[in-house]
Symmetry: C5
Subunit: 217 residues, 5 copies
């Protein structure tokens, strides 16, 4: 929580349990309403574990839901997101889809056409925003952002970049491609100075500054 407030983030993403026990209402809350562990080896599926009503009671501004596109259970997740999106809107909350291509049918989960397809799927499903992985390239990510249309695009934090500056460059590219922000995790928490990193990110995202300019401090 501390990081989120001091860094001036737009919001925090919590599972129900963390939100119930730690959320203090100081920054907007995105409640992740489905979840799984990384233990099972089969085709991925994460089902709803928090009701939309409960997310509203906790004070969430949006609900988040992960869809493993291409999984043999894709149909169940698309169906469930469909219901959650309608219920979230009825509670005046946004519905954000984490769209991650995964499963045996997926060779490369950050291939440009796959990421663009994920963005488009989020638009069609009615997501207010999608969280997708970076393609590794500004031009191809731009295409994905275009495919998402009026659905906003957040970049998923993804695997840890080798250096802080590498991570910030990646973020700058994503923003230049039209993304509205990013959902970060380990790249901030595991950086050498999480608070400094959070400040840099804020300058990129909110103040729209360059990497070099942002890192002056």
């Amino acid at each position: 929580m501390k990081l989120a407030e001091e860094g001036g983030f737009n919001g925090v993403i919590f599972q129900k349990g963390l939100a119930e026990k730690y959320y203090d209402g100081k920054v907007p809350l995105i409640l992740k309403v489905n979840g799984k562990t990384s233990l099972p080896k089969g085709e991925p599926i994460a089902r709803q574990i928090c009701s939309v009503k409960r997310a509203a009671e906790i004070g969430a501004k949006a609900v988040g839901y992960t869809i493993y596109l291409g999984s043999a259970h894709e149909d169940l997740m698309l169906e469930e997101f469909g219901k959650i999106q309608e219920e979230a809107h009825a509670h005046d909350m946004a519905a954000i889809a984490w769209i991650y291509p995964r499963g045996q049918a997926i060779q490369n989960d950050i291939a440009p056409e796959i990421i663009a397809y994920a963005a488009r799927a989020g638009l069609e499903a009615g997501a207010d925003a999608v969280k997708i992985k970076y393609t590794g390239n500004v031009e191809t990510f731009k295409w994905a952002v275009k495919c998402a249309g009026k659905t906003k695009v957040f970049m998923s934090g993804g695997p840890k970049a080798k250096t802080d500056v590498e991570f910030l460059r990646q973020v700058r590219g994503v923003l230049d491609a039209g993304a509205v922000g990013l959902a970060v995790g380990r790249n901030v928490w595991q950086s050498s100075d999480p608070l400094k990193m959070a400040r840099y990110l804020k300058r990129l995202v909110i103040e729209n500054r360059s990497v070099e300019d942002a890192m002056k401090d």
Copy 2:
């Protein structure tokens, strides 16, 4: 949207997300209420991702639902369409079934007897209209139209024809066979001049003109 209005189409077909973000009410809306991606490799299934109630709120005149006939999950789609059809009628909306034979049990998804069976299945399931693929031949398609009985038949746009005139001839054949219209996609958007193509189609479908006559202009 632009194409739909200028071309004078009878309606547009949108998934929930596109309808919510782009539909302006100027042409009738058919809301597609199930959907899938092309990524999973198993037996095809597309589940409901938009409620009928939500389709009505958005202002749809009809709901569309795809049934992959012959899929190992055919039973789930026939069941779901059954509920959606009743709910749509209760909301004064038509229920349109896209009926596509698909899955390991299907050798040739445009074989005349398969397309005729698809048409008949749509009639039995209570569809107000079915969208089926062209058999490639006017006589066999006529048989399919007959099998659909009082259920109206739309030709699915299908794969892109080699030339515009080839596509228009295909459409004329389908109309002569008794189909009431067609659901187009890439054959219009990807033609050299989409607006001109839309105008030609309108002349065939609405004004019932010949291909040669329609293309004068």
Copy 3:
């Protein structure tokens, strides 16, 4: 429809779509509330595709439901029929079970002991009537009728008989065995003179005449 009225049948059997578009109320209607195609190759299952409430609105006197006894999905169909039977009775409609042994576990779907088992299963499940296949022999069919107890037995039309008289003899045998009637399809529609065949059947079933007597005309 025409055949049904002129032939003086006790009723017609329609799927929802046909009933909604063609049923005129002149003869009693049995609405078939589940259905499948013959395309999928796995263990057979047909799920509910018409609600009992809708069947009542359409004016059905009874609902029909197929149970593929012995299928790996038998449990789902027995469960669904259980609900439908109770709902049908609450709407003052009869519940008729088509009981067809089918699937990998079934070697011979008209073996006397299998047909008798099917009849008994219909009685236990609470069916007002069962539709079962002819065993090919009056004595063994009598046993099946006895196993059905107070549940009425209809013979399923089954595969087309070689001649009209062969079909009529089969019907006479079934009636002599205690069946109350038969559900016909292709044996009437595909006979050389459907209306004449319907007249003959009426004489056998309603007027209880012999085959020779019935065919005088």
Copy 4:
């Protein structure tokens, strides 16, 4: 029905269909609310085919439900019994579990430890009574009865004994082990004199007499 009244049985066990068509209210009714055929070859499962509400309307004093313990579908049956037990109690009916270990995981379905486990499972699931098979031995069955705690134990009729006296001795052993009764079927119906057999059983169960004493007559 006749046998039940003349023999002075405590109750009859019927499936819904038999109860609706033959039950006359003269003896207490146990309505069996799930069922299957012996045709499918896979892991056993029997789903609910009669609602608890309907069982109450018919006048049942108790509902019966079979759980195939050890089946790959055990979880679905334990879950369903859990709901049925609560609903039955809400309707002032008892909930009786037939607990039969079955499926590929079960080597010997009457092994003492398996039968004791079945009895215990019935107690934990909240059954008012369990129906379990005889272990073949008074001492081991006593253990099973003890494992059932306050849940009453009925012996399942099981396969036909070679002679009437052998069957009666089995019953006496079961009663001596603490069972409150037995659910009989073919051992009564298929005995040389069903009414006499019923009289003997009554003397064992209700009047607590020895086999030799009971057979004097």
Copy 5:
């Protein structure tokens, strides 16, 4: 029950059936609302067999639910726990998750990182407390307790220790690691003197005494 009262335990854990037949209200009740047998060989799953409403009627202070983390059916249990947790809180009961990694994907179900993951999963799922196995080492268990955050940690009784003192040392280690208590079973019932063992445990858990001090008596 006797043991629980005399030993001064914080509560007893019962399945529905045991609670309905034996619980006398003298100590707080945790009602276990799912369950399975050890017979089926496939990926583990235990479904809800007692409603939260029923648990509340019986007088439970908390409901317990087992999640087999890593099972191929993990998703169904996480989903079900999600609903139960919300319903329990609505009835002013705590929701306790027994989190046991199990199934083909799990090599070592007490590996420190697995136990820590289980603890974290319980926190994210919204459990008020988790019951997890001992890692066998105070330091690694401390890590698991930390991962559980504000979710309280109980040690699962686990397999029987070789001696009473070995078991008590294990308990002391767990408490030193931050656990609030333990859920015992066979280590108490099967010890040479269950009442004495219960007294020792009370001294460790409630009075926070050392093993040597606790065993003076």
